[in-house]
Symmetry: C2
Subunit: 362 residues, 2 copies
Amino acid sequence: MSRGSSADDNAGRSAGEGALPRRATISDVAREAGTGKTSISRYLNGELSALSPDLRARIEAAIERLDYRPNQMARGLKRGRNRLLGLLLADLTNPYSVEVLQGVEAACHALGYMPLICHAANEIDMERRYLQLLTTYRVEGVIVNALGVPEPMLKPLASGGIPAVLVDRTVDGLDADMVGLDNAAAARLGVEHLLAHGYDDLVFVVQPFEHVSSRREREAAFRACAHGKQGARDVRAATHVLDLREDASVDASLAALDVYIADAARRGARCALFAANAPVALRLALHLKARFGAQWQQHAALIAIDDPEWAELAGITTIRQPTREIGYRAVEFLHERIEGAVLATRAAAFPGELIVRASTPG
Amino acid sequence: MSRGSSADDNAGRSAGEGALPRRATISDVAREAGTGKTSISRYLNGELSALSPDLRARIEAAIERLDYRPNQMARGLKRGRNRLLGLLLADLTNPYSVEVLQGVEAACHALGYMPLICHAANEIDMERRYLQLLTTYRVEGVIVNALGVPEPMLKPLASGGIPAVLVDRTVDGLDADMVGLDNAAAARLGVEHLLAHGYDDLVFVVQPFEHVSSRREREAAFRACAHGKQGARDVRAATHVLDLREDASVDASLAALDVYIADAARRGARCALFAANAPVALRLALHLKARFGAQWQQHAALIAIDDPEWAELAGITTIRQPTREIGYRAVEFLHERIEGAVLATRAAAFPGELIVRASTPG
DNA sequence: CTGTTAGCGCTTTCAC
DNA sequence: GTGAAAGCGCTAACAG
């Protein structure tokens, strides 16, 4: 069964310099161990009970000798499942994404999946391209933090296609599980904090929000809450759009913002800026610092949803999202569906946590 | 050959609601188009010249009708190459990693690869596990930003194994291409900047550096440069280790650092802290702010290698790495080796760029 | 307990 | 031009 000199045909090819040593296959191992592929397969899949101690030892030795590694591609092909999950992130540059990612990784680790991380980098073409790719690689499920732009490519997911769960934002026409922040509650938390600290001039600053559900919800809740709470006081609430994609637009928008601040100042009051997320908050802080210097906090208050690492350093009051949990839960949702659960689409909305810092002095 | 009722065996198992409609295979398409699998394959691979216009049209229609997507796993298995590259990152929490990642993605896009992103999260087990995984998925090459801890699992890469290129740091005993910052030049740039601005008390603050080549090189260059440059002046240079992994150790280390600052102050001078990277810089800035308040810059100068997004906001002088280029070049190196190039291992060291801000007033 | 036999979905000779 | 057949590396019935 085993040809005399078998040990060396391996040495011969991998020895030299940069030659490609063609990895050992299951057949090689079988031959080396003097048995059939089936037994090797059994060994690999932990069906040890069905192997005589002797055979088992020989297999172990052969694997070791050949430095054998089962080919996952082949396995997946045969089994029809590859334990791959797709994670499509709109923008890894946003710490939020990285944190969600960590939660996803933890859950994948726990549940035995391998996440395929894809980064759309805010480009719709990339989003489309990766979605394609994930499909052709036959991932068993996808976690999508979409750009928000209407994207027909996404449709096939929920319907006929792969199980999917949305993170942070919904996608028009896609009926899938969803997990993210309780946006309304978070916005309320922020507004109430500002109101309690005596601010009467509130400006909600947000990126274009028509297509991004989380932004839309935050903005709506801000308005509802700021107006509703007026009570005896004379509260002015406004929404201001800041499109970070184009520098020119940013400058103009920032200049317009200054008007609110100046108006409030004229009235002897301090304006409170409510940033819808970290990227906006950074841009705002940068602007305020450039305009008013290191003491900008005396000219305008700032609060933001999201809690990036620099918030502490800059002393900015924030509403932190339980990002890790969000990622973790997304995988759990997906897992259930992959395992065949048939239930109505669910939504998990986690509460945010207010972290008070120097930017909203009372 | 084909059993009469074939259309419904699909409906049978997945009928319910959100069940899986088993994706169409190449055979399905062939049948639908009334031809053989070979032609479909040819079509998929762009061998259009070998197809009659008629057949071609039928294939196009069939693919469309069945929403067919070729299975990459199967393709890869058959071809022996899957266009997958592994990217193993020590810590995605570090903006540096995300930026390198972006360069890698751009290059992959340009060269037709799909990056498998793996995040070790500073855990050696994770690093090992992902390395295993990448191997079993038969990626064609790996880009490794290693933890630095000696890791035998890495060995198989360069030798018999998969082509690899190291990013930012070397790995003991692994002879592979390497791309990163010109650490010596960067450290020199920083020291010279400080010296030119009149600082005579320099402290280089770095995480444990025995196992991380980039830290080692920066530290060595700092010492060489700071000492060498003394000239007529009386320059004091010291290296201080800050281990960010344990809070207790951080506190103690930070307290010790205060001594340097106090000493310099007693002499009527201001101490200059040189952070070896962004995480250290953040910790330092946080500490200084806690200790001296918003005006901390008057008590100690701070400069750092790396240029995170908050550096501008905090007004910290930095030495920026061309991160995108680093990632891009890594892929190019890998690509050449994958294509079969046999050359001595190379190293690309990119220069850093000094960005002067308020933290190092002259 | 162990091996033989079919394929998974695709590419690729090699004939027609 | 086009298709039939033989696998890529692995698993999963079936026999012994």
